[in-house]
Amino acid sequence: MSGSMAFLLWIKGPMFNIALAIFAIGLFARFAEIFLLGRKPNYAEPRAGEWLPGFKTMFTRSIADPGTFQRASFNVVVGWVWHLGFLIALLLFVPHVELMKGLFGIVWPALPNPVVDLITAITLIALVATLVHRLTHPVKQRISTFDDYLVWTVVFLVVLTGYLAYHRLVNPYPIALGMHILMAEIFLIILPFTKLTHIFTAFIARWYNGAAFGRKGVAS
């Protein structure tokens, strides 16, 4: 492929701008909608504050309650593994930290490459496991929609192309890197319009929940 450099430059240039614009417009449109629609005013007298329980729930809900764990231990464990792996690879890999620095000017420490490499490999295996589970589990199989498979594919390809690029398993390298950035761009583009929005809305929803419970004076 003789245009590999042109491809990479396009992916890093105009295409990145497009992806970022769609991502930001889409995501903030949804945010504005969610916040402005708000909730119905609650005229009952509050029994306790809502802010603190709201914030608490944002984090406490990350740990599954024992019942859920027993009922769906695979979901909880594998889900945790790949979510954490994905986040570590995304936020603590040197080139990604440099990307954030280039975009926002903020830096944080990164992990050594071999550590990120290992975590990425684990993430890939966990992701494959989730797909197998989805395809074989009788209930999951029936409740899975196109959206679920699309999101799985994009997430998997983002990680896979990153792994391939890091190990330089695709030649020439500009193609390998370009494919990875392109997949990340597709991820950004579909994020506001698929269940990927949960990256942000999960915490908003938890806050609403926690706040509502807090107001009623019950533990969430």
Binding site: M5, A21, I25, L36, V94, E98, G102, N113, V115, Y173
Partner: protein, 369 residues
């Protein structure tokens, strides 16, 4: 009148005429093998081939260039340039190096073309204003670069584009490309084109490609960009002696921090080594003294297409070219406005629905059933 025909003597004969012993010839072959990036085991093959080889006529055309490539070539030390010119090739036309000037120079080119038709090599340095550009942007002897290139290439055996300008357009082609500069590859479609990219290319690579043609009588194996694989087959990153530090995640953060002093990887300082294919890491520069990364500076990626337009030399490879946090903010605000609009509309609909709601009696409901 000078005879411009390729001399009939083989290289072996003419070297011996110059008083070169067989041991000297063996050494010459060892140096040539090293220059061609071939394993020393190939020396006997090279010796046999060079013994029989004939010096090709070479015409060197300079277009929109800075003469840096010629400067680089004249620092080729193996074999010394004199040897190269006298023994390996018959350099019949070269602006900077030839003694002739004016009409005599142009005549030399035409004569060499006529005497060696179909067999001479054309070396080009510099990019060419395309056929649609103003021909006056760059001329030689009152004729446009494009015209001279096409005329000279017509009966050539092959074209070697030396330097990133000739190979990919280089600096003249960098945005906004005022002269409509094009590469040799863009213009010459019916002849083999070899690209020896780099700004400038490693001198040994220029001579190595010539030596390969001379030794084996054919062009070396090329990559997707028409570059000889022997020199451009591996990326800088893959042969970089700082690679162990990259793998361990040890990076210099500034040019003078502890990491820089310890020779750690220069990725965060903008090194383009991972996406750059060249032989600097092994052949080095200035007769093998050092090379950019060994001197503490990140690789600029000068042997790749569009390297002038590929973002800052000091920004890591993973940083996007143009997007900024400002753009992101603008898009976010735009998105919020859209979302607010949608939400207000929805709220209004709910309100009007509530306002216009009519009480329904049980009788009415039963009627509808």
């Amino acid at each position: 009148m000078i005879d411009r025909k390729t001399p009939n003597k083989t290289l072996g004969e003419s070297l011996r005429d110059h008083g070169l012993s067989r041991r000297g010839f063996l050494k010459f072959c060892a140096a040539t093998a090293s220059m061609m990036a071939l394993p020393p085991g190939m020396v006997p093959v090279i010796a046999a081939a060079l013994e029989q080889a004939r010096r090709p006529s070479v015409i060197w055309l300079s277009f929109q260039e800075c003469t840096g490539c010629t400067e680089s070539l004249t620092r080729s030390h193996a074999p010394a340039l004199e040897d190269l010119i006298l023994n390996l090739i018959s350099l019949d036309y070269h602006h900077t190096l030839q003694a002739a000037a004016g009409d005599a120079a142009e005549d030399a080119r035409l004569q060499a073309m006529e005497a060696n038709t179909g067999q001479y090599l054309v070396i080009v340095d510099g990019s060419i204003p395309g056929p649609d550009s103003n021909p006056g942007f760059s001329t030689v002897a009152g004729r446009s670069n494009y015209e001279i290139l096409m005329e000279t290439v017509e009966h050539a055996a092959a074209v070697i584009a030396v330097g990133t300008c000739a190979a990919f357009g280089g600096l003249p082609q960098a945005s906004p490309n005022p002269t409509g500069a094009m590469s040799v590859m863009d213009l010459v479609k019916d002849k083999p084109v070899i690209n020896v990219s780099g700004c400038p290319p490693i001198p040994m690579v220029i001579t190595g490609v010539l030596a390969h043609y001379l030794t084996f009588g054919r062009l070396p194996e090329l990559d997707a960009y028409h570059r000889p694989l022997a020199f451009y087959g591996q990326s800088i990153h893959d042969r970089c002696y700082r690679r162990p530090f990259y793998d361990k995640g040890k990076f210099a953060e500034t040019f003078d921090d502890e990491g820089a002093k310890l020779g750690w990887c220069l990725y965060r300082l903008g090194c383009k080594g991972p996406s750059t294919y060249n032989a600097c890491a092994t052949m080095r520069w200035n007769g093998g003294v050092s090379w950019p990364i060994e001197s503490g500076h990140p690789c600029l990626g000068c042997s790749e297409p569009s390297f002038w337009d590929a973002g800052s030399f000091y920004q890591p490879l993973s940083v996007p070219l143009t997007a900024t946090s400002g753009d992101l903010l603008t898009a976010a605000v735009g998105g919020a406005v859209v979302g607010a609009g949608v939400a207000t509309l929805a709220n209004k609909q709910i309100k009007t629905a509530v306002a216009n709601r009519q009480p329904v009696t049980v009788e009415e409901l039963e009627e509808k059933l």
